[in-house]
Symmetry: C3
Subunit: 299 residues, 3 copies
């Protein structure tokens, strides 16, 4: 149930639990602890955060559990992100923007460490490609964070192929993932070749929104309808009713080694995700879903 992130040495669980909406789940500290423990029981030991999730609150909520249960930290891997400067009532900026300056990256990680009550982040991602990025500054920030032991591994999110190559050419540490949106509802990273690039580089993609924020199970557009019935058809092959299991199997069967991030706070949903690890789609089954996503047959 572990996946080795290419040659880096970092081991993440095959499915990752996302914490973006933790602040909305209404968990007590005890309930969150139980959720985490059950996830670990399922083999899901990696938790995906970002500095800004829940308007900068989610890391802190999660960190309270780590504080009160000191045995937890060694059983899990923590991912967090930095670089987005939100604008709202709490953060009064002139515009939402990105900041990947050395000083901001380091400050953001220091905050994340404090919020999460931990002394190290397992994997730090640049949240969005920053057209104003100074790769030399990012390199210096990464070196400092790596040498101090505060961050063990580094990666990016939502980068194009070229943006990945550019940043990699400047930083001394290997970039071990690109966290991108992939689902039967969103196949843009097949169409823009990003997935093939990561396969060339032996880098595991992480997939955010693997269920397209629930759009997979709505029949409110022709596209959604096609995908829904395709998932249903494959579900029937395996006698499985939970279409999310099929959507996860579609991602997990792919040779790129895609690591999906389950974003739900319902433990049953995570269970449905984990069940998909037992399924292996044939090329024909995989294409039934892919062509529904594409909207037409392959040429």
């Amino acid at each position: 149930m572990k996946i080795n992130m290419s040659k880096s040495g970092l081991e993440l669980s095959r499915i990752v639990q996302g914490m973006m909406r933790l602040n909305e789940w209404g968990f007590s500290k005890k309930e969150l602890e139980n959720f985490i423990l059950k996830a670990i029981d399922f083999g899901v030991t990696t938790f995906d955060h970002a500095d800004i999730y829940g308007n900068h609150t989610c890391e802190k909520i999660f960190g309270e559990v780590l504080k009160s249960n000191s045995s937890l930290r060694n059983k899990i891997q923590l991912i967090t992100k930095c670089g987005i400067m939100v604008k709202n009532e709490k953060y009064q900026r002139r515009v939402k923007h990105y900041n990947t300056s050395k000083i901001h990256i380091i400050e953001s990680v220091e905050n994340s460490l404090k919020n999460l009550n931990t002394d190290h982040i397992d994997l730090l991602l640049i949240h969005r490609p920053d057209p104003f990025m100074n790769p030399e500054e990012i390199s210096e920030a990464f070196d400092e964070l790596y040498n101090s032991g505060k961050v063990l591994y580094f990666g990016v999110s939502n980068f194009t192929i070229q943006q990945f190559k550019t940043l990699q050419s400047w930083v001394n540490v290997p970039l071990i993932t690109n966290q991108i949106e992939i689902s039967p509802y969103n196949i843009e990273h097949f169409e823009n070749d990003n997935i093939y690039f990561l396969m060339e580089k032996r880098i595991n993609p992480m997939a955010w929104s693997p269920l397209a924020g629930g759009n997979l199970f709505k029949i409110n557009s022709e596209k959604a309808s096609k995908i829904f019935y395709a998932l249903k058809e494959i579900g029937k092959d395996f006698s499985i009713d939970s279409l999310d299991t099929i959507a996860y199997a579609w991602l997990l069967s792919h040779p790129a080694g895609i690591i999906p991030i389950s974003g739900s706070g319902k433990i049953e949903r995570l269970e449905n995700a984990v069940k998909s690890l037992e399924l292996k789609l044939s090329p024909e089954q995989w294409y039934i879903i892919y062509e529904a996503a594409l909207g037409h047959r392959v040429p």
Copy 2:
């Protein structure tokens, strides 16, 4: 009249005869043999097949001639392809899809060898980029086919730049061509940089549909009309009436070393193609056709 496929050692004829519609030509075995012999006389010694052409019948028709005339095989080079799983009355599949698994590639080549009555394929192409491809399996299949002498050279068809790089990074054999659609009617591989990539890698592109399936000679759209009159204008420069000769000259004059595939079963059409080898377009002549294809002047 031969072209050396980069550093690989494989020699193909400068123009290739395509066999996609062989089943529609209504040739007797003798007529097909005569067609092949005349092509060889013209210097066209390479024949382009695919497992699926004619709903899996064309290889077999061609193979009958090789069986009855045993001196032919050594005078020609055979290209075939694999990876497309058609769906029709004969092949009852749930959807048309691709399959580039190790087991399918090897099985498909074994069938092609049997159909063609030969013990080796000169050049095997993956017919379409397979988003579900497992490059490790393709690599194993290629190694096995190469080591057994069943396939001498390998390439791809319709791949993007990145898909080519990805597959090349996994397979041990060099990919010696990308067979793509190129014609004055279809310049997408100039626009998506594929042709420049192949020039960087010193790889000869093969061009399918070099006459755009006949669209070049119709005046049923503004685009077709522009191209028709551009070809006519250049034809006048050389006192040549057959516009297909000009279209081939446009491809053959290009420094990328494009190898066009003539798809017609009429030997006069192949003759028109071969005649183009004597023409060399100037930059201005080449641009008259290119700008007709583009629909506007270059900036």
Copy 3:
């Protein structure tokens, strides 16, 4: 005020004076000499030409000053370009096209040397990517021009990433720049990743039309209006009224080391450009302009 073009050794001024419209400025030889001397006073020592500017007249006008003031040549760097074959009353061609054959490149440079009254060009650019280019011929031309001392450095203009890679793979000299259109009005080379590619390769982009031909200061479209008010807002931060200064600062603050080309014949405009060297935009200020260009907030 000098910028070192990567590892090449060529030093250009941080801002370059473009000569495309020199023939329209109505300068006497004395006025042009004064303009050049004032530019040099400002630290602007690099002058950007092309064979075709002013329908092949601008180089000659400039060269008259170099002829009469023999001390000037050693104080400046000359850029020129070749490869575009214009079509008009003076040049009666069948179509406008490109020509990057060896014979044309060398002939064009010989003409530029004669027109400019100099024995060497500091930097020669291929003006436009030529889909009919024969990179081997370009390589031979560059070698010959380099070995004879007639051209010191080489580069390209308006090339895609792949076109740049392809040409670089064939020529022995390093390509030290890609001169592309960049301005708050035109961010296409952020969107097509060209700027990130140049950052990967440690190559300084040159920016033509940094003020979008004056479009930056018109309020005749929603886009223009958004950009106008963004520039105004940042101008206020620095108590600067000249919006062109802000536009230049936006380019010069970027870590890619963009070298803008000022195209105006009014010395005050060049002064406004030079003033921008004192400004350093923060990420937030930079994004206020970028998002105006984008038309929406970043995700």
